[in-house]
């Protein structure tokens, strides 16, 4: 079934200056007829994703990938167009959000998951799974600030992969960090992703996108440059980058 659909979505945001941040100054500016310029982060983007789709976003920095993720997550509101989705959207944009270093892992399960929209039932279920998976042993009941980086990564990975959703928005691929952990994490990740309807992922790692995604959207200056089969779009993207690199090299030579 169609999970989400964007129709001619545009998102622009005003470029506030320091003076626009002050009530006094901005009333003065407003009286003088000054307007705030805005830039278009997303322009006229349309697509639909079906259950099972894994969409990758590629593009240079500033092409609008993050903005599009935030529109899809319902955080940023489009200025034009409509956006429909069915079910629950979980955005994993800021890893470790809601984890309090003064609390133990056991006490750090609830708030991060609640912020992502989990119900009490889901939290109870997640708690045992996280304890078991993260293999923190007695550290599970000690404050997170005492953890090694690897332990923190395991906890955050376990948290990220405990909430099933219909649409999952990822700013970065999920990884457990720890080497010794990779196989176990891989299995958990596969099991987790099987239950997710649609995944949207922004990344600069083209090989990862090739492996994970069936569709890729190439954004350029907020507009759709190309959208379609993952391999096709990634190849075209690489070509254009090479061309860009060689043409700039020519510029320098000349």
């Amino acid at each position: 079934m169609v999970r989400l659909e964007l129709k001619n979505v545009s998102f622009e945001y005003p470029l506030f200056e320091v003076t626009d941040r002050s009530l006094k100054m901005s009333i003065m500016r407003r009286l003088n007829g000054a307007t705030v310029p805005s830039i278009c982060a997303i322009q006229n983007v349309s697509f639909r994703l079906l259950d099972g789709d894994r969409l990758g976003l590629v593009g240079r920095n500033g092409a609008g990938k993050s903005s599009l993720l935030r529109v899809l997550a319902g955080l940023a509101h489009p200025n034009q167009g409509t956006y429909h989705y069915h079910g629950r959207v979980v955005p994993l944009i800021e890893k470790g959000l809601g984890i309090n270093p003064e609390l133990s892992a056991a006490d750090n399960v609830e708030l991060p998951l609640r912020l992502l929209g989990a119900s009490s039932n889901e939290i109870d279920q997640a708690r045992d799974g996280i304890r078991e998976f993260s293999e923190l042993g007695e550290f599970f009941d000690l404050p997170v600030r005492r953890y090694s980086e690897g332990m923190k990564a395991r906890l955050s990975f376990a948290l990220s992969t405990s909430l099933v959703s219909d649409v999952l928005i990822l700013d970065e691929w999920l990884s457990a960090g720890d080497r010794a952990f990779v196989q176990k994490a891989e299995k958990r990740l596969v099991d987790f992703l099987e239950q997710i309807g649609v995944v949207v992922l922004a990344s600069h790692d083209l090989e990862l996108l090739r492996n994970v995604c069936n569709k890729v959207l190439w954004l350029e200056k907020g507009e759709t440059r190309m959208m379609g089969d993952a391999d096709e779009v990634i190849n075209a993207y690489i070509m254009s980058q090479d061309r860009g690199a060689s043409s700039s090299a020519e510029d320098q030579a000349a």
Binding site: R21, A76, G81
Partner: protein, 274 residues
Amino acid sequence: MAAAELNTVQTKPSALRHVAHEITDTLNQWRVWFLMGNQDILMRYRRSRLGPFWISLSMASTVIGIGVLYSGIFEAEVGPYLAFIGAGFLIWAFIGGGLVEGCGALIEAEQHIRSVRVSTSVLCARIIWRNTIIFLHNFVLISLILMFVGLRPGPEAFLILPGVALLAMFLFACANVLGPLTLKYRDIAQIVSSLTQFMFFLTPILWMPDQGRVPSAWVLYNPFFHLIELVRAPMLGQLPTVMNWSVSAGCTLIAGLLACWTWVYSRNRIFVWL
């Protein structure tokens, strides 16, 4: 997979539905603001055994110091004056804290707003909840002072709870106005904190309204006087007047309507104000 309801994000969603959404979120997601508020307190006073009682202690010492000194200046009896400013300081700390921290409700949660869907009302409830926790701690110490000067709680004391509840609702409504607007106009925080300071002196907290030296209109037209009386009168064994209650309820209603307007005005803008 979860039941798939259809959600539509439009450029101009219904205002009424959004207001209802903010209100139901406050109720449904009470655990989010409850946990966040508790953790705020925990972080502020981590690794200190007394925790929030530290501020209560400093409030108690201020009250005793000023009480003894000013009762001499005002030629008032020490006992009743100490009780009066004790209750006044306690309530003012709640009001001032709610207003000033309410300005930062969204700024503080910038990271959250950027990465998860969290309602303005939930972030404001967190601010009011953590100020309520501090209020409750202070309440214990100030009650000890009241007992010490010989006040015993009478039947009026039952009115403290509804008074605090209305006060909390007023502050919650104010935070929902100030939080989003301060996100856009950062200088509102400074304006509010100077005004709060100013109102502290203008409102009968240090001085008693019946000392006869201040025109009564100054007191009666000051909404903060009525908001304070709501809780202070029953703490001191008096009944708040009908006027105290009606002015306070009216202020809460106005602040509530402004909050609804702010929700609707800011909902699509909050993200670009970050």
